[in-house]
């Protein structure tokens, strides 16, 4: 290939794929956070995925994908304690469309797993999808993993999350008594076994330790409705605010940082976000994050 043809093809590619150029230009300006608003939750979920490069950028044909929503509580979708089932389904469908061999959806619940899977609506939403499994946690699958972190030297993590080709973090944005908010970084607790409450004594550092080991390739935050108080479990609809918003980013810290603003808080208010940023897990400076509204 001589220089002329090279230039020609590059130019053509540039013309044909403006998005690519956009991203190249944006790269030094920091990570992209896509935000979509609308009442059609599957549609806004698809829009943010497209805006961060499309699912094909993360999931390659034949990949095994873990989608980790929050299914922690025996609460109904409108109570805003678990990820919205319509959002979960849209994400799973996008993975399948990108050619995933298998999509696994699970969470280590706080309430009885049967009730959580059922009443969150997630089990039902995924019913009938081929190549998709929505299984409860099996304790024997937790494996002790060396983290060599600042607080956690080792911890039990779920083998299916570790073995997956792609890990998609799919939290709901909500209030939390200790960490103030629970978002993507905190959602990782759902693949942790053992005495999880132990981590509360140094939660921010512990979560940075685990997120350093188990990276989220894509973080999609469900803010279709958020829980503003009495989280993470809620139960009172007066604490629920409907925002009809979904957020996505390949940068988990950036996604969390942006989601923080929905609660009228600053990223620096959330110790978990700060610790992860310091650990080099992503960008929390809103000025350096490129927010794309789609």
């Amino acid at each position: 290939m001589d220089r002329r043809t090279f230039l020609k093809s590059t130019g053509a590619a540039a013309l044909l794929a403006p998005v690519l150029v956009q991203e190249l230009l944006a790269a030094p300006a920091g990570p992209v956070v896509a935000v979509a608003e609308g009442r059609d939750y599957p549609a806004i979920t698809r829009r943010v995925i497209t805006a961060v490069g499309g699912m094909g950028r993360y999931v390659k044909p034949g990949d095994t994908v873990v989608v980790k929503p929050n299914i922690g509580w025996d609460r109904s979708p409108e109570q805003a304690a678990n990820t919205h089932p319509a959002v979960v389904r849209a994400v799973v469908e996008e993975c399948l469309a990108a050619g995933a061999k298998r999509v696994k959806v699970f969470d280590y619940t706080c309430n009885d797993p049967r009730r959580c899977y059922l009443n969150s609506g997630i089990e039902q939403a995924l019913k009938g999808l081929k190549k998709v499994e929505c299984k409860q946690i099996e304790m024997e699958r937790f494996k002790m993993i060396a983290l060599n972190g600042q607080f956690l030297k080792e911890w039990e993590l779920y083998d299916e999350a570790l073995a997956a080709d792609v890990f998609i973090n799919l939290p709901i944005a909500k209030h939390h008594g200790l960490s103030r908010l629970t978002l993507g970084l905190k959602n990782i607790m759902g693949v942790m076994g053992g005495n999880r409450g132990f981590t509360h004594r140094n939660l921010a550092t512990a979560l940075a330790d685990v997120n350093s080991r188990l990276k989220s390739h894509l973080t999609i935050i469900d803010a279709t409705r958020i829980l503003t108080a009495h989280g993470p479990q809620g139960g009172n609809l007066a604490d629920v605010k409907v925002l009809n918003t979904v957020i996505a980013s390949a940068d988990i810290v950036a996604a969390d940082a942006y989601a923080t603003t929905l609660f009228g808080l600053k990223p620096a208010d959330i110790a978990v976000t700060v610790a992860a940023h310091k650990r080099g897990l992503g960008e929390m400076d809103l000025k350096r994050i490129r927010v794309v509204r789609v």
Partner: protein, 519 residues
């Protein structure tokens, strides 16, 4: 008893045993908030449960209507329950060796059965309902619930786990088969229970008695059988001829219960129809007749009655003693009055079987001797799931009331109390509040506030200290369950006398009041 001949009575026995086992398996959360058919059906049709309930609670319960119908049927037909329905009786028949020896156990015969039944009934009259301890269906159910079912579940689970350590992820290939078993047959969670050995031993003991004499338990001990036998003597139906025929005497070998003395004792005839089926001369019939059939005296001797009463008092009064910490035990949700509860509880173990998070365990000594086998919440082992109402649904007598979910959420089991020597923010000046995170009350009965404290390193530090809003704590125990401190939790649920439901929490009004509380 020979099960090769499929007579109506044998088929009935098998069907009822199958029904019992099916209902037993159904007595578990299988994806529905309501359990429509549970094994409580057998207790609701159990005359011993009804009679002891009436004597103790001294009220009527429509839940027990089937038992009243069973009494009427027994008055009409005789003691057919034991030969046609009783799952324990069927189990004994199935396990009877073919070469059975029918030598009667002399030390058990006679008045022994009354010495069991009468003290139980008198104790009920004196407000202590112990009938469930010796009720045959309760004995069977407890043996299954506390011993056999967990054993079965554990065996399956450990095999499944072992398979994972052998072949890892490849196990997924056969997961659908295991899941099917899990969904329809196995317990969701294998629980180890206290008294499991004792429950199994009682059941096995009864089965072993069968080696010495067929239906030994039914003839000589079973208080339900004794009661039914007594009722059955009023039946107009008689077996004719009433005794052994001079030229044959086959009945003696055919009868599983009563012909060892040469006459048919009505109270012990379980209408199994074996003699009719096996009679070489087709002489035997069961039909209304005015012929006298030998039976014991209508009322047991005065000595027995008085002895039974004394026994009842002896059971009811000294058993009452409780240590101070046993006075207000943690009972299932909706139980407000400890004494009323003890009068109604059958100790059948169904609530413990069905409990979603295995919060309920049989009391061994924790609520005094009178509380043996009654359900206790042990929050460190399992908590009461906020949206679950299953225990009230399966309780056969309403000792645990069947409540709508909104009502049940407000029922008070106890109140949570911090143990500041264990609770991390107090004891070690570090953040934790896992309890607040899990508290299911929408307004949070456990809250926290930031305080400046002198850390253990001598440096002032900010810690989130939890506190309890007692007015809205329902004592579900999830805080104690999840407390990350090892062994003894930093927060514990204590029994309280005043178990009136917490105020309506849905209106938002309560929230407003709580915010104004001086915490």
């Amino acid at each position: 008893m020979c099960f090769l001949k499929k007579t109506t009575a044998r088929i009935s026995q098998l069907l009822f045993l199958a029904l019992f086992l099916l209902l037993f398996i159904q007595t578990e959360y299988r994806g529905h908030d309501q359990i429509n058919a549970a094994v409580n059906a057998f207790f609701r049709a159990d005359p011993l449960v009804l009679v002891s309930y009436l004597l103790a609670a001294k009220t009527w319960s429509w839940l027990l209507l089937p038992a009243l119908l069973m009494i009427l049927a027994t008055l009409l037909l005789g003691r057919f329950f034991c030969g046609w329905i009783c799952p324990l009786g069927t189990l004994l028949d199935l396990l009877t060796p073919k070469q059975r020896s029918t030598r009667p156990i002399t030390w058990l015969s006679g008045n022994m059965k009354y010495w069991l039944l009468l003290p139980l009934l008198f104790a009920s009259l004196f407000n202590l309902n112990l009938a469930g301890l010796l009720d045959p269906i309760a004995i069977l159910l407890r043996g299954l619930t506390f011993f056999l079912y967990p054993l079965m579940g554990l065996t399956a689970r450990e095999g499944w786990v072992e398979l994972y350590s052998l072949i890892g992820e490849q196990r997924d290939a056969i997961a659908p088969a295991y899941n099917l078993l899990k969904q329809y047959l196995l317990p969701f969670r294998e629980t180890l229970y206290p008294l499991s050995f004792f429950s199994a031993a009682l059941l096995i003991g009864i089965i072993l008695l069968e080696r010495l004499e067929t239906r030994a338990w039914c003839r000589h001990l079973c208080p339900l059988g004794t009661l039914l036998g007594w009722l059955g003597r009023f039946s107009p139906f008689k077996r004719l001829p009433v005794g052994l025929c001079a030229d044959c005497g086959q009945c003696r070998a055919l009868c599983p219960t009563t012909f060892d003395q040469g006459v048919l004792n009505r109270e012990e005839c379980i209408l199994c129809m074996e003699c009719q089926q096996g009679c070489p001369h087709q002489r035997i019939s069961f039909r209304p007749s005015s012929k006298l059939q030998p039976a014991g005296p209508l009322l047991p001797q005065r000595r027995l009655l008085l002895g039974g009463m004394a026994g009842g008092l002896l059971l009811a009064v000294p058993a009452r003693f409780r240590q101070p910490e046993q006075v207000w035990p943690l009972r299932p949700p909706g139980v407000q009055d400890e004494n009323a509860f003890l009068k109604k509880c059958v100790r059948c173990g169904e609530c413990m079987k069905v409990c979603l998070k295995n919060a309920l365990y049989p009391a061994a000594w924790q609520s005094g001797w009178e509380g043996l086998y009654t359900p206790l919440v042990i929050p460190r082992l399992g908590y009461c799931e906020y949206n679950c109402t299953l225990c009230g649904q399966v309780c056969p007598t309403g000792a645990i009331p069947n409540l709508a979910v909104e009502q049940k959420k407000r029922e008070v089991i106890g109140k949570a109390v911090f143990d500041r020597d264990h609770c991390l923010p107090f004891a070690r000046k570090m953040d934790c509040i896992v309890c607040e995170e899990h508290c299911p009350i929408p307004e949070k009965a456990i809250r926290s506030r930031e305080v400046q404290v002198l850390g253990l390193d001598g440096v002032m530090t900010t810690v989130k200290e939890p506190y309890i809003v007692e007015e809205i704590c329902n004592g579900c125990g999830i805080c104690e369950y999840v407390c990350p401190v090892e062994t003894r939790a930093g927060i514990r649920v204590y029994g309280v006398k005043d178990r009136r439901p917490i105020k309506q929490a849905v209106s938002g009004q309560l929230l407003h009041q709580i915010e104004k509380l001086p915490y």
